[in-house]
Symmetry: C2
Subunit: 396 residues, 2 copies
Amino acid sequence: MINETYKAMLQGKSIIRELSEYAAARGREIGYDHVFDYSLGNPSVPCPQAYTDGMIELLREEDPMAVHGYSPSLGIESVREAVADSLNRRFAMDYEAKHIFMASGAAGALAHAFRCVTGPGDEILTFAPYFPEYGPYVNLSGARLRVVPADTGQFQINFPALEEVMNEKVMAVLVNTPNNPSGAVYSTDTIRKLADFLRAKQREYGHDIFLISDEPYREIVFEGADSPYVSGFYDNSISCYSYSKSLSLPGERIGYVAVNPRCKDGDILAVMCGQISRGIGHNCPPSSVQLAVARMLDQTSDLSVYETNMNLLYESLKNLGFTVVKPGGTFYLFPKALEEDAGAFCMKAKKYDLILVPSDNFGVPGYFRMAYCIDTEKVKRSLPVLERFVKEEYGR
Amino acid sequence: MINETYKAMLQGKSIIRELSEYAAARGREIGYDHVFDYSLGNPSVPCPQAYTDGMIELLREEDPMAVHGYSPSLGIESVREAVADSLNRRFAMDYEAKHIFMASGAAGALAHAFRCVTGPGDEILTFAPYFPEYGPYVNLSGARLRVVPADTGQFQINFPALEEVMNEKVMAVLVNTPNNPSGAVYSTDTIRKLADFLRAKQREYGHDIFLISDEPYREIVFEGADSPYVSGFYDNSISCYSYSKSLSLPGERIGYVAVNPRCKDGDILAVMCGQISRGIGHNCPPSSVQLAVARMLDQTSDLSVYETNMNLLYESLKNLGFTVVKPGGTFYLFPKALEEDAGAFCMKAKKYDLILVPSDNFGVPGYFRMAYCIDTEKVKRSLPVLERFVKEEYGR
């Protein structure tokens, strides 16, 4: 008989997807140029030409049996080595190939990391505002997601709230910095305080607590932001990375799990990911994509458009009187809505063809998310519309 | 704390992997040309040139945002349509795009199919001999794998044994035809009898029983073999396909789940796969690979080498007095060992640099598997070695 858990999930539609579908439909009606679609977190710049060239070279010049053949379940050895070297060079770590597990994007990496360090009934704690997919990601792994209320002042960590939510069942803490949806980057001070807190709790509870860092936006950091490498501050840590945003390859499903060499059982966690993979049917990310990405690990797409867009929108929102924390990275802004009910606020914006996502699903009521991974020209055209919306609906 | 289930799995090494590693090491010692490595089921012919050309064209001429962008979680709509059309054309089915879920190879497809139609504690039944990975694939999904003893006469289905093992907890039956490791292809008669049996059991138990067909070898069928399309015979059926063998793209992780349109809840099972995907972190198979494969759904690599190799080996084994069923497809042979202990038999073969896999892990004792996806020239050179081995060790 069909599985009732998954069947029941069919009822819950993603608000982001619904809005993005609405934007597409509205676009067909009035022309997509006239719809200011801030709903989806989809990279708006192409992958580097070097990726395309590198892939064509692989296809043309290498043995197809090697390019398309089975990858070992932990990933291609030379690729794992290159990833370790790149991380060591950039973040003063001491990874070896054995600490790297090549995964199908950040979703794949997290699916493995969660299963590595938790069992059924254990809790994984994260901080609001958070990516709504963490719910199914964690809950369907057998563990339970617990959410710490937000620090709405700066979208760093609300430590008093953390102290309250923390309990002995928590086996892992999940952070996402630079953060979706707030755009905030956890400061060195925040990460250090969190690491101290977790070390104290490990001693108190007498068991390990893993820090899992979801880092797809690691390379999208703006001028002046302090963006420390999370695993540098805490031994029992696992980094989950994706090339979806940095190389604009979201459909190619390529990323990795990097196990801190200093963590408990650091030598076996990546190998355990290979076992987990058998149960959830991943096997490995596509071989050709592993090989092509390994040629350009320290490169990114031209990500400058995101900072340009952020500055335009941030200034405009401030001038219109919004309460908004200036993002340190990502391609998201997370302003406070002009009325308590963020859903009602976003419904009104829709009338102006401004597609904004209400914050409730991110674990904080009363805010909205703008994904400004769109053309700068369109951002500019949206500013007077935003102004008109605020004036007409809220008299400002 | 780290997960004990996955940690415990690190102890159990795959015999196939161990033998293949041995073969590689021995190859470094004496030259790989002199090692007759029949251990691994890895395609030995390259992907069609048309695949390479098609992918290069996509990379050169299409918008990189479309080629590498997020795919919908069920797969790219045009690709799903093309897969449905191809299946309808070839197997007289009536699939629509909504019945197709694009998956990361057969392992990914099975991971979704199992979770669709079973819950924790349910049983999935399969037939010996079987692919050993079915153990972790099923057991880590929450269901339990039950194995029906083999029909060692023809490696069809042992129906009296099936009747004995069948019980009310069985929610799905998993078949793999053409079969790894036996090379047998289930005949129309076998499939028809199985379908009748399952329909009767559905009535008896008052619940659905799904037939899940794992079909990565569907395109590798030899002259004269009767190779029916399983889902044509039973409404509650799900086909799991991979392009790994037919297009020699095992590392690219591309395949699909095809839900029989006539099955119970046929309209929602593929959508449920999208929900399952969130929990196990798949998202979708690589976008570029989906697009490239969709251009050549009815093509295959030049698969003729497998039949050539099979005939050479089958004749030789018969002449040496082996009991062996002539394969109807795949690239495997599954002869009876010349002593009761297949492990001991394969150990002796190793002395002659013949790498054979004992059958115990496939759920049948006393046989061995030969994966003849190697160069024909090497197969030919292995024949006198096989003869010498049998003569010297068993006096034949």
